[in-house]
Amino acid sequence: MDNFEFLEDDFAFVGENHESKKEIAPPVTPFFKDFMRRLGKNKGACIGGILIVIIILIAIIAPMVSSYDYAEMNTAIQSTSPNAQHLFGTDRYGRDLFTRVWQGTRISLFVAASAVIIDIIFGMTYGLISGYFGGKVDTVMQRVQEIINSIPSLVILTLLLVIMKASLFTIIIALMLTGWIGMSRITRAQVLKVKEEEYVLASKTLGAGHFFIIFKNILPNIFGQLIIMSMFSIPNAIFYEAFLAFLGLGIPTPQASLGSLINDGFKSILITPYMVIIPVIVLAILMLSFNLFADGLRDAFDPTMKEM
């Protein structure tokens, strides 16, 4: 280095005439492809996804093709064990349990789906407004949410039952009153993160209104994440419904849900254990599958989110 000779103009200023090398954009795989690849690699998520599809299909088809009605009583065949005619046996009133279990699965899935939709619509709106506008609005909305959250959902349901009869509708209302809170928290956190991003600021300096910023800039960037997080509330909703049924606050007979079947069967668990075991297995598989699938979706969507 020391005996290297520099010429006078070695370090002259090149200025505007300088032709530097072209920059090459790094090759990228489209996000969706990458997402599917990561999801495909996750065995738990695949198994979960497949099981969910199978259970949904059976829940739809089985009650339709079954030769028995879920409410049809037949005292001649009370409490028969599983056999060729009645794959899952019959209950105390001689109703076909195969039909009732899948009918119950339908109800449980329906409850879960409504819960998630309400979660998304209500929780997301609440979180969006709270996070986006911030300041006093945020403070008030967060305190209100904390108050609601501090009332146990069981108390809310019991109070509800004072003014409403136990029904599917009541259960969904109960889920709605408490379920949205988790979703609104996640949405708020995401909005707080995204609203300080430079592309949102850029939109503001271009004079965009709140509506434009929320729907064009913020929502598209958090929606995927929110949908995936909402998958986690499905197993919770299914379990909550079963839990309510088990406490006798569930859906009235002759309708059935997985929870009410378990509750009914539990009364004679020592004599006819199959009445409990079969719906419990279905419930367990359903919840496990949803959890595995949601986990897999989240990891595939953003591998750095594992800790959340």
Binding site: F6, E198, Y199, T205, L206, A208, F212, K216, P220
Partner: protein, 309 residues
């Protein structure tokens, strides 16, 4: 030059209230002006309040105190509809992070057209698209790039897209907040040259924010040195480089590396520590040195600094 300045900042203050007892004085009473078609370089170390200054001027924040006069209109307080429109169209900003400044879910064409979409500045869809294509051409990209998403571009290209997004509004002033700091050095030069070219063609003024003086020297007509929310020295580029007075300016100048390794070997970086220097910015006032050259100091400090040549 008795032209009216495009931007005049008078005693701008931006304080952030953290809690009841504590307030961050991010910007604490700075004044400067920018002439049409000129570039004002604002430099200072990280945390000195450069971004806050830019954001207060463009009203991403509401200034605590002071006046910002843009095109003869005061835009620091409550604005009329027309004034707001003037601000949102004629003053634009280029951001620091090429990865974060473009919405990843939007196509380039929609990103660039965002401004004219918001202000409905086109009659037909063809006219809109043509405007975007023309701007793409201007910043050295092509029509084919319009339908791609931001992640398909390199850092320098994204920054060009960010520039294109501002140019579509025909701005009078562009605030470039460390617009090149995140780029490779060779790409930095390309982007700066692009800005110079645009300035020549459109007579747009720039507020060029940077954390070191090396690029600022090349692009700026005037320079302001910001430290802890105070403008410690301001003047033309020649004045600052040939006759730096304030010890902070001197330390920034001494930090510019030389491309010549022999010179670089003997370069001595001057250190400057506000806490131990005994200087209190609150006590100083702006002293005129020459031309447009001002220094923030007390009488005593000024004497001292002038004599340590």
């Amino acid at each position: 030059m008795n032209q009216q300045p495009i931007l005049e900042v008078k005693n701008l203050k931006q304080h952030f209230k953290i809690n009841r007892k504590f307030t961050v004085k991010a910007v604490d009473g700075i004044s400067f002006q920018i002439m049409p078609g000129q570039t004002y370089g604002l430099v200072g170390e990280s945390g000195s309040g450069k971004s806050t200054t830019g954001r207060s001027i463009i009203r991403l924040y509401n200034p605590t105190d002071g006046e910002v006069i843009f095109n003869g209109k005061d835009i620091s307080g409550k604005m009329t509809k027309d004034e707001l429109k003037l601000l949102r169209t004629k003053m634009q900003m280029i951001f620091q992070d090429p990865m974060a400044c473009l919405n990843p879910r939007k196509k380039v064409i929609d990103i660039i057209a965002e401004g004219i979409d918001i202000h409905h500045e086109f009659k037909t869809q063809e006219e809109r698209n043509q405007k975007v294509y023309d701007i793409l051409e201007l910043v050295g990209l092509s029509k084919e790039h319009a339908t791609r998403y931001p992640h398909q571009f390199s850092g320098g290209q994204r920054q060009r897209i960010g520039i294109a997004r501002t140019l579509i509004m025909n701005p009078d002033l562009i605030i470039a907040d460390e617009a090149i700091s995140a780029l490779d050095v060779s790409i930095q030069a390309q982007v700066v040259n692009l800005m110079k070219k645009i300035q020549k063609e459109t007579n747009t003024a720039f507020l060029f924010i940077a954390h070191d003086l090396s690029m600022v020297k090349y692009i700026s007509d005037h320079i302001g040195v910001l430290h802890l929310g105070h403008l410690v020295e301001t003047g033309t580029t020649e004045e600052i480089f040939n006759n730096p007075i304030h010890p902070y300016t001197k330390s920034l100048l001494s930090a510019i590396p030389s491309p010549n390794p022999k010179v670089e070997k003997t370069r001595v970086s001057l250190s400057y520590d506000y806490a131990t220097s005994g200087i209190d910015y609150e006590l100083g006032s702006q002293h005129h040195i020459s031309g447009s050259h001002y220094v923030l100091a007390t009488e005593k400090e000024l004497e001292e600094w002038k004599n340590t040549e």
